[in-house]
């Protein structure tokens, strides 16, 4: 094992030498990450130095080095607000607020977010942290009701819009179907005269309704998929955010079909009913 020991010794020596060289350099500036928006607004670049002060007047600035740019986590609650932000190490942040005259006057950190690599382990980690450090409350961010609240509101808002849209388009659909059926009055009359049974005509009408409804739903989904990118790009540009505004998932598409098809068939059925109830000769007599 002498070779391995030699290698370890050599490594230690190199490390020690490097540390000594680095220590002789002036203290390196604290590092910060700057949001894409702030980078763009102030024409900053990675490697630039940045002066930040806790006072609006800019007195007593601290100096940092920009080591990277980041995209702020999209937040629908802050839509429209320019995300001019900086991320710094916790000690640096405390240092910004620290008052040399009164050490007790500093900011305290009362909450930190920890990201876990294994997403599923979130609650397990939370439980263990809570148990290990008495007095801390650890929970998954998704369990935080206050954080989820805006999304719940948004979801309800979307549901309301969807219901209004569906109702309005159903009325429109029904009117359209009534027109279609009225146009068909003579056709249905002729078919009844020829000897088509009511059930057979209804079958045709329903089959047609299903085809129209499925075609409509598929068209609608394709249209929304086609527009998805455009809408997202427009609003992301408009609000300068990475927030995703529209996302057509398979479950959304399936739900649309599940609503549209019965609705289309029901409106065809409703609009054809009077026609099929009518006496045969009443249809062709004018």
């Amino acid at each position: 094992m002498p070779i391995r020991r030699a290698v370890i010794a050599l490594t230690c020596a190199v490390t020690a030498a490097l540390s000594a060289i680095l220590a002789s350099q002036p203290a390196p500036l604290p590092e910060v990450l700057v949001s894409r928006q702030l980078m763009e607004a102030q024409h900053l670049q990675v490697g630039d130095t940045l002066r930040l002060s806790s006072a609006a007047s800019g007195v007593d600035p601290h100096v940092y080095r920009i080591v990277g740019e980041y995209e702020p986590t999209p937040d629908p609650m802050r839509l429209g607000a320019a995300r001019l932000e900086v991320r710094m190490h916790l000690p640096d942040l405390l240092a910004v607020e620290a008052n040399p005259q009164n050490p007790l006057d500093g900011e305290t950190v009362d909450a930190i977010n920890v990201s876990v690599t294994n997403e599923g382990a979130g609650s397990d980690v939370a439980r263990r942290v809570s148990g290990a450090i008495p007095g801390t409350a650890a929970q998954r961010t998704s369990d935080d009701q206050r954080r989820a609240a805006p999304f719940v509101v948004l979801e309800r808002f979307h549901l309301a819009i969807a219901i209004v849209t569906v109702l309005a388009s159903s009325v429109f659909l029904l009117a359209l179907m009534l027109m279609l059926v009225d146009e068909r009055r003579a056709t249905v009359g002729v078919l009844r005269l020829i000897g088509f049974r009511r059930g057979r005509i209804l079958q045709h009408v329903l089959a047609e309704g299903v085809v129209i409804a499925i075609t409509g739903a598929v068209f609608g989904i394709l249209l929304s998929i086609g527009m998805e990118g455009g809408i997202n790009r427009f609003f992301q540009w408009r609000y300068d955010t990475a927030l995703v505004f529209v996302r057509i998932t398979p479950s959304v598409a399936l739900r649309s079909i599940a609503i549209a098809v019965p609705l289309g068939v029901a409106s065809i059925f409703a609009s054809s009913w009077s026609l099929l109830r009518a006496e045969v000769f009443a249809l062709t007599r004018r």
Binding site: L191, R192, G195, R197, F281
Partner: protein
């Protein structure tokens, strides 16, 4: 020989806001297979109403109708549809062709509904279009046909399932003299080929072609003429 149609004291009343309308009163009538009958009468005397009842489209409010010995009044709507499909052909003043279908497709529809195999249907359709002299217009839509041609297609369609009875309500009403004559000849031919024909018409010349003629007034048969 049992009659094809036997109407016994038929009456038809339409209950209307301003009091009931008596469209037919006490009509009794027998018709044999292959017979040719024309019906005339002033407007509103009940000719079309009678034709609808004979064609199992409408039902009388009193009396009864036997079609091929079956009491039509006791049949369900689906059964009456079946009789119309297989045993009765209709021709109207306004043709009532399906506008989105070609002449051949219009003739094909009743056969398809009756479940005739496709090859047989195609043969029968061409045979019928030849019969009415329109084989060369098979692929034309009603809008591309003249009135006389459209009526001939309508007759071909009415004959599609080899009906025992052809009912025509003012078949020449919208046609000029020459075309009317053409249709009249065609109806003669249909009858001589074995189908019973009933024609309602205001056209005296057309009415005179039949050996048996009814004159209606106020919902009754006022006069019946026979010619040998």
């Amino acid at each position: 020989m049992t009659p094809l149609i036997e109407a016994r004291t038929l009456g038809k009343v339409f209950p209307m806001g301003g009091g009931p309308v008596h469209a037919l009163r006490d009509i009794s009538l027998q018709m044999c297979a292959g017979e040719y009958l024309t019906i005339r009468g002033p407007s509103g005397c009940g000719k079309s109403t009678l034709l609808h009842i004979l064609g199992c489209v409408d039902t009388p409010t009193s009396g009864s109708l036997l079609f091929d010995s079956r009491d039509v009044g006791s049949l369900a709507d689906a059964e009456r549809s079946e009789i119309r499909l297989r045993s009765i052909g209709f021709v109207f003043q306004r043709f009532f062709l399906l506008p989105m279908l070609t002449a051949a497709e219009n003739v094909d529809v009743p056969q398809a509904e009756a479940g005739v195999p496709k090859a047989d249907r195609r043969r029968r359709t061409m045979e019928l279009l030849e019969y009415v002299g329109l084989a060369h217009r098979a692929d034309h839509r009603p809008s591309q046909l003249s009135g006389g041609e459209a009526q001939r297609v309508a007759i071909a369609r009415a004959l599609a399932n080899r009906p025992r009875l052809l009912l025509a309500d003012e078949p020449t009403g919208e046609l000029d003299r020459a075309n009317g004559e053409h249709i009249a000849e065609l109806l003669d031919r249909v009858q001589s080929d074995g189908t019973a024909v009933v024609v309602v018409t205001h056209d005296g010349a057309l009415a005179e072609r039949a050996p048996r003629r009814l004159l209606m007034r106020d919902g009754r048969i006022e006069q019946e003429e026979f010619r040998r």
